[in-house]
Symmetry: C2
Subunit: 479 residues, 2 copies
């Protein structure tokens, strides 16, 4: 390992500056001692951080050994510990996963405490190859196959402080050689707690076995991670642009996307955009996301409006009026004016509270003119134009008015259609009113006739004449 | 295997139409019998094509068996054969590679002969997984890891007729089940010639071994190919756009790219653009292209103008005046006017043949006015503005003129610089004349002074006065 090469990585890829602290995770093995020693020789201000996972009897002794090394280098030493076995049992995690979580939690806590510029860990090219093989065996896309990054912000741990891995281009043999040259004595296999059965077997069996197919298999896979990392970056840029085009709104239990924009994307970007929406509702949902996203991509070719597509993990997809909803527990945004199954009387003056924060008001007043139109209700992206205020002919009305939802087969004689009447259900379709808003849509009834399909259309008979001086005004108010 | 699913793949992914022939490659194994039988049941017009690789004693018997099957189905049967062993030895290929080449050559020959809409082969999901693992072990990027395509134009075989692989989503077990249900008797392991040591070992040893890590490893890898295929498509679109921005011109031994456009690309696209340029000069250069492209990407960060970067396989990179050249055998485009080491006399009237198709002409004529400027010479993308015709003062000239290249330390008094003189080498730098064009750049000499740096600048002393009626006109003509 050449110091010049490392220096270049530290400056140009890890973006480390000489004058702000770095928290270095040091297990005491050859990799982390090499990292610590080389950073120290380059005069970076370091905090040596060791986490005692308490998984092996000699772990406390290891911690003392690392403390001694820090002391010899005159560096600040911090130690953390936790009952990883209990944590694993409690959170239903593998020992390895629990150990990882506890360790990173500790490292980033220290980093925040000392306002560090970065947390540095000693993953090597070998670790990179092992990680990628693990991803491959467990199922991965480009993001998994590109392996770990030399510098990354991981929001799971901290939104600002990056995790840097300066040794990702360095092979384990090189860190061991470094230790030998600089007379550092690595602890005997201190990271073995980390190599659970799967990773250990992979390291000691699978890779040597693969070398019987190609002696350079490690180098070949490492190179692959480099190339795929570049490809991934390009793709991530495209995904971001696609997301910006498709995304409309997030709610607590749903995201709304622009349906045709999503459909127009190539499959790869459709998957990525859907995965991003799924990630928001189910962060870290890795193992089942292929089938889940695939189902949604297939369904998107001909989405059935008004029908749920059940995905998995309590997630669904819903299409409606040019919008695509990714939901959990069938929760859709519902912001339309709605009314329950009961009839309600509306006096003049008077008002009726509707659902979703809407109110219907009636008053008698002088005629002013045309209804107040033109406001687009943004309910989950719906695009129905509502008349928020209308004037009705008092002579035509039977008071008090009744407000209720539609009845089966109910008909309407809409204003401006030459007295023709039509089924209210057809009228709703013509208005592009989402199906789920129809059953509870409030109607203002005069006697037995529909005087106003709230917000949508007057009945022909109730229109105001040019000679009327006084009108009954109905108003739909939100909020 | 459901017929409906296959029908969908045939129509929607393979884009097959019912009324144009399809050449089906049939070895006689379960996979190809299943493909043949299912296509036949769907009434596609088929040609059964069998290639006898002559690698096993029973291969002629296999061919007869396939012919019988075709006859029973009342389908046209065509057979090819070749001495694959000799071809492999002659072309320095592996047996597997030689067999593949011979077979596809035959299949596409038949396809052209019968104006087929496609060549269909019976690769299954198992083949896909094996192929991807093989690529992984030998080193691959996204293009290798995505595996084979269900439909692809392979210019190596034909520029129009696609190769389709309708069974890529079907597992080998399914094709065997199909054969059992439809009472087809596959030949015993007829493709074994194809499973050379590497692939055979991979199928019978590696995959079962990997299943001990994850029993679903085959499915997991197959899914990966699906996802990566989508990612690759997105990336390919980006690469095409990047290429359009960067590419300037191709020559027989070089491609010219726009240097800063290439530098401005993210690493992933830089690699892809360079790989595309490399591919053109060295098609199929797979194994060494990672290091090769990587070296070029690193060099691009600070390209040394006027110095070759040696890649490999006889390829080089060269940067010059905002242009990036990918060359073989150091061959750069040279289209500038150039002259050899000897002096040449230029009489008036008269002409001198220069190199690269240029001619220098002199004549005496009436004064017309300003020199003819404004033509940008596209030589390999160079951007020097040439004066193609100038007028000189006959009184100032010593005839005959001499045309030659520069001498060490030679100086010039350029027109319009108030009589100051400067080194010709500095003048060339100011003109942004590529270094390699300088040593052979033709100068027109009057006595011992530079009268015209051809195409670039008159000497101050030789300018025409407003009172001159007659001038000596020098003209630079290309082609």
């Amino acid at each position: 390992m050449e110091a010049v090469r490392l220096q270049k990585i530290l400056q140009e890829t890890c973006l480390l500056v000489p004058d702000r602290p770095i928290v270095v995770g040091v297990s005491g093995g050859a990799d982390s001692l090499c990292l610590l020693d080389s950073l120290h020789r380059l005069d970076y201000p370091l905090w040596v951080a060791h986490f005692d996972h308490g998984l092996r009897p000699e772990s406390a002794e290891d911690a003392r050994a690392v403390a001694r090394i820090a002391q010899e280098m005159r560096l600040k030493f911090v130690m953390g510990s936790g009952d990883v076995r209990a944590m694993a049992a409690q959170a239903g995690l593998s020992l390895e996963e629990a150990a990882r979580k506890a360790r990173y939690h500790f490292l980033f806590e220290q980093a925040r405490a000392c306002q560090a510029q970065a947390v540095a860990v000693a993953h090597t090219a070998n670790d990179q190859v092992e990680t990628v093989l693990m991803h491959l065996l467990r199922g991965a896309g480009l993001n998994g196959l590109r392996g770990m990054s030399t510098r990354a912000i991981l929001p799971e741990w901290d939104a600002q402080i990056p995790l840097v891995r300066p040794l990702l281009e360095i092979w384990r043999e090189e860190t061991e050689a470094w230790c030998a040259v600089h007379q550092l004595t690595p602890l005997r296999d201190p990271t073995n707690w980390d190599t659970t059965f799967f990773r250990n077997r992979l390291r000691h069996e699978l890779i040597p076995y693969l070398q019987s197919y190609n002696p350079n298999v490690k180098e070949v896979i490492w190179r692959m991670t480099q190339v795929l990392g570049g490809d991934w970056e390009v793709l991530a840029g495209e995904v971001e642009r696609a997301w910006q085009r498709c995304w409309l709104r997030d709610g607590p239990h749903w995201s709304v996307l622009h349906l045709t924009q999503v459909q127009d994307l190539p499959d790869g970007l459709q998957r990525a955009v859907l995965r991003r929406a799924v990630d928001r509702l189910r962060p870290g949902l890795r193992d089942i996301d292929f089938g889940l996203v695939e189902r949604a991509v297939n369904w998107l070719r001909e989405p059935a409006s008004g029908h749920w597509l059940e995905l998995a993990a309590g997630l669904q997809v819903w299409a409606e009026e040019g919008r695509l909803y990714i939901t959990e527990n069938h929760q859709l945004p519902q912001e339309w004016p709605q009314i329950g199954p009961k009839e309600v009387l509306l006096t003049v003056p008077g008002e009726v509270r509707l659902e979703q924060g809407w109110t219907l008001r009636a008053e008698r007043r002088a005629r002013r003119g045309n209804p107040e139109r033109g406001q687009l209700v943004a309910a989950g992206g719906g695009r129905v134009l509502l008349e928020l205020s209308v004037e009705l002919n008092p002579q035509a009305l039977v008071l008090p008015l009744i407000v209720r939802a539609l009845r089966p087969g109910e008909r309407l004689t809409p204003l401006g259609m030459g007295g023709h009447h039509m089924k209210l259900s057809d009228f709703f379709v013509n208005c592009k009113l989402p199906q789920r808003a129809r059953a509870g849509w409030p109607l203002v009834i005069s006697g037995t006739e529909i005087a106003w399909v709230t917000g949508l259309r007057l009945g022909e008979k109730f229109k105001v004449n040019a000679t009327d001086l006084e009108v009954i005004c109905l108003e739909l108010v939100q909020g």
